[in-house]
C-alpha cells in the first residue's frame, strides 16, 4: 500500500507476440565493417577496447559503454545488472532481446562485469514468469524480477544494492552487442526499436540499422489516420519529433505514435500526495512546488531536489497535470546556486 512507484497500465502484448522483425536497411546506408575480435578469455582491457572499437552505446541513455565500464572499474562497482525489461507501458525492446537470445545477453553481461571488475552479475527481467521462461543462463549470473511499479529500474537497483553495494545498470542490447563485438568482432550497427502507441496499426519490435529514418519504422508498423504526435525514447521521459526523417540511434528505443496530444493545461495541486508516493528517491515534489510557488523559495526547504533521477513518475501520476519534474529540476538548480555563503 505504501510502496513507492506507480503502477501503469501496460500495452506490450501485441508488440511482443511476433518476436523481433528485421527492417531492411535503406540502400544508402553503408554496411558495417567488422574488426578483429579479441575472442574468448580476453583481458578486461581488451574487452574495453573491443567495446570502444565497436562503438557500443547503452540504449537506455545513449552513453558509450566503454567509458561507463571504465568508470565503474574506477569506482569498484560490486554489482552489474543487465536491464532486460523496459520501464514503460509501450516499450518492450529489451524484453524482446532477452527472449530472443538470453545466452548472448548473459555472455555480454559477464564480459562487462569482467571488464569493470564487478563480482556480482544479475539479469533483471520484467516479471517472474519471464524469468521462468529463460533458458541458458550461465552459472554465476543471478536473475531478478523487476516488479510492476514504475520506475522499476530505480526501485530494483535499490533492492539489489541493499547492504551498501555499489551497483550499475547496463542495457540488454548493449550486453548483446558487447558479446558480438568480443566474440565475433561485429560493430554495433543496429538496435531493436518498438513501434507502438494508439496511432500504430500493428505494434511490433523491429531490428533497425542505425540511420534508418524514424518514419520508416512507423510505416513498417502501419500508421493510423490522424496521428498528432510521435515520440521517441520513452513514453514517460522521451521527446516528440516533428520530422520523421530523423535517424534511429542506439538510444531511440521506441517510436510511439499518438492520435491525441497530452493535455497541456495544468490545474492547481489537489494535495493528493501521489507524487510523493510515486517518487523512488523520497523527494516530496508537492513540497518543492509549494516552496517554488511561494515567490521566494528557500533553498534549505527544497529537500532532496538534487537527487531527482528524472524518471517522471511524479508527472505521470499527478492528477493536476503539473510539470513536477521540471519544478524539481528548477529547485535542484536553485539549490546548487542559491544557498548564500555565510562566510563571504
Amino acid at each position: 500500500m505504501f510502496a513507492h512507484g506507480v503502477r501503469l497500465e501496460e500495452d506490450k502484448r501485441a508488440a511482443l507476440k511476433n518476436g523481433i522483425a528485421v527492417l531492411p536497411a535503406p540502400e544508402d546506408l553503408p554496411e558495417p565493417r567488422s574488426f578483429r575480435a579479441p575472442g574468448g578469455g580476453a583481458e578486461p582491457a581488451a574487452i574495453l577496447a573491443a567495446a570502444r572499437t565497436a562503438g557500443i552505446d547503452d540504449e537506455f541513455d545513449g552513453a558509450p559503454l566503454a567509458a561507463r565500464l571504465a568508470r565503474l572499474a574506477e569506482e569498484q562497482a560490486d554489482l552489474l545488472a543487465a536491464c532486460c525489461f523496459d520501464d514503460d507501458p509501450f516499450v518492450c525492446g529489451a524484453q524482446a532481446v532477452l527472449r530472443e537470445d538470453a545466452a548472448k545477453v548473459a555472455d555480454g553481461l559477464l564480459l562487462a562485469a569482467l571488464a569493470c571488475g564487478a563480482g556480482e552479475t544479475v539479469v533483471a527481467a520484467a516479471s517472474r514468469s519471464e524469468l521462468r521462461a529463460l533458458r541458458g543462463l550461465p552459472k554465476g549470473v543471478a536473475a531478478a524480477a523487476a516488479g510492476n511499479r514504475y520506475p522499476a529500474r530505480v526501485l530494483l537497483m535499490r533492492r539489489l544494492c541493499r547492504g551498501g553495494k555499489r551497483g550499475a545498470w547496463i542495457g540488454a542490447q548493449a550486453c548483446a552487442a558487447l558479446s558480438d563485438a568480443v566474440r565475433r568482432g561485429v560493430r554495433q550497427a543496429e538496435t531493436v526499436v518498438t513501434a507502438s502507441g494508439g496511432g500504430v496499426l500493428r505494434p511490433a519490435n523491429f531490428r533497425v540499422r542505425f540511420g534508418t529514418p524514424v518514419g520508416a519504422v512507423l510505416r513498417a508498423a502501419g500508421l493510423r489516420e490522424g496521428v498528432r504526435a510521435v515520440a521517441v525514447g520513452s513514453s514517460l521521459t522521451g521527446r516528440t519529433v516533428t520530422d520523421l526523417s530523423l535517424p534511429v540511434t542506439a538510444a531511440t528505443r521506441c517510436v510511439l505514435a499518438f492520435p491525441r496530444l497530452p493535455a497541456a493545461r495544468a490545474f492547481p495541486c489537489v494535495r493528493c500526495g501521489r507524487c510523493a508516493r510515486a517518487c523512488p528517491q523520497g523527494i516530496l515534489p508537492w513540497l518543492v512546488l509549494r516552496e517554488l510557488e511561494s515567490g521566494a523559495p528557500e533553498p534549505l526547504r527544497l529537500f532532496h531536489a538534487e537527487s531527482c533521477v528524472g524518471c517522471a513518475a511524479c508527472d505521470a501520476v499527478c492528477p493536476s497535470g503539473i510539470a513536477l519534474v521540471a519544478a524539481v529540476r528548477r529547485a535542484a538548480a536553485l539549490k546548487e546556486a542559491g544557498v548564500p555563503d555565510e562566510t563571504a
Binding site: P268, E293, S294, G295
Partner: protein, 195 residues
C-alpha cells in the same frame, strides 16, 4: 477567579474575537503577518497593552463616570494612559534590554496605539466581571492577535499565487479572505459584535 479569567480569554479568542468578529486591530495584524518573525513579540506587546488598557479603564471609570462629558473624555483619558504606559515600558526596556528594544522597540508604539481605546469596551464589558475577567480578556486578545497574524501570514501566501488575477493578488485578496473568515466568526455571534 482563574476560571473567570480562562473563560474571558476563551471568549476573546473565539466568539468575541476582536480581530475577525469585530474587525478591530486587523491593520496591525496584517502588518505583523508580513513580518512573521515578529508575530510572537507583537502579540506579547498587544497582550501587555490590552492589560494596561483594561486596568486603566477599570481604574478611570469611577472618576470619569460622574462627569457630564464622560463619553468624550473617556477615550482621551485612556489614550493619555496608554501614552504613559508606552513611555514607561519603552524607558524600562531601553534601560534593561537595550538590544531587544533596538530590534523590537518599533513594535511597541503601534501595539499601544492599537489597544489603547479598547479599554472603552473592556470597561463597559467587565465592570461586572471585575479584574480577573478583564485580565483574562486582555490575555485572550494577545492570543487572538497571535492567531490572527499567523492566519494572515499564511493567507497572504495563498493570496499571492501564480494563478491569482493581478488586481487581486496580495492585499485585495487578503481583505476578501478576512471577510470570509469574519463570516465564520459571525456564525458564532449571529452578527452581533459585543461592543
Amino acid at each position: 477567579m482563574l476560571a473567570e479569567m480562562a473563560l474571558a480569554a476563551l471568549l476573546a479568542v473565539t466568539a468575541e474575537n476582536l480581530f475577525f468578529a469585530g474587525g478591530a486591530g486587523l491593520s496591525r495584524a496584517l502588518r505583523s503577518a508580513r513580518e512573521p518573525g515578529s508575530i510572537g513579540v507583537s502579540s506579547c506587546f498587544v497582550a501587555f497593552f490590552a492589560l494596561c488598557a483594561a486596568f486603566a479603564g477599570l481604574l478611570l471609570e469611577p472618576l470619569l463616570a460622574p462627569l457630564p462629558q464622560a463619553r468624550l473624555l473617556r477615550p482621551a483619558a485612556l489614550l493619555l494612559a496608554a501614552g504613559t504606559a508606552y513611555l514607561l515600558s519603552a524607558a524600562l526596556l531601553r534601560r534593561l534590554a537595550p538590544g531587544f528594544f533596538r530590534r523590537r522597540g518599533r513594535l511597541l508604539g503601534p501595539a499601544a496605539a492599537n489597544t489603547a481605546v479598547l479599554a472603552v469596551p473592556y470597561a463597559a464589558r467587565f465592570s461586572a466581571f471585575g479584574a480577573a475577567g478583564a485580565a483574562g480578556f486582555a490575555l485572550g486578545t494577545g492570543a487572538a492577535f497571535w492567531l490572527a497574524s499567523s492566519v494572515l501570514f499564511h493567507a497572504l501566501r495563498a493570496c499571492r499565487n501564480p494563478d491569482s488575477p493581478a488586481p487581486f493578488a496580495g492585499l485585495p485578496a487578503a481583505l476578501i479572505y478576512i471577510g470570509i473568515l469574519s463570516m465564520a466568526f459571525a456564525g458564532f455571534s449571529g452578527g452581533k459584535v459585543f461592543f
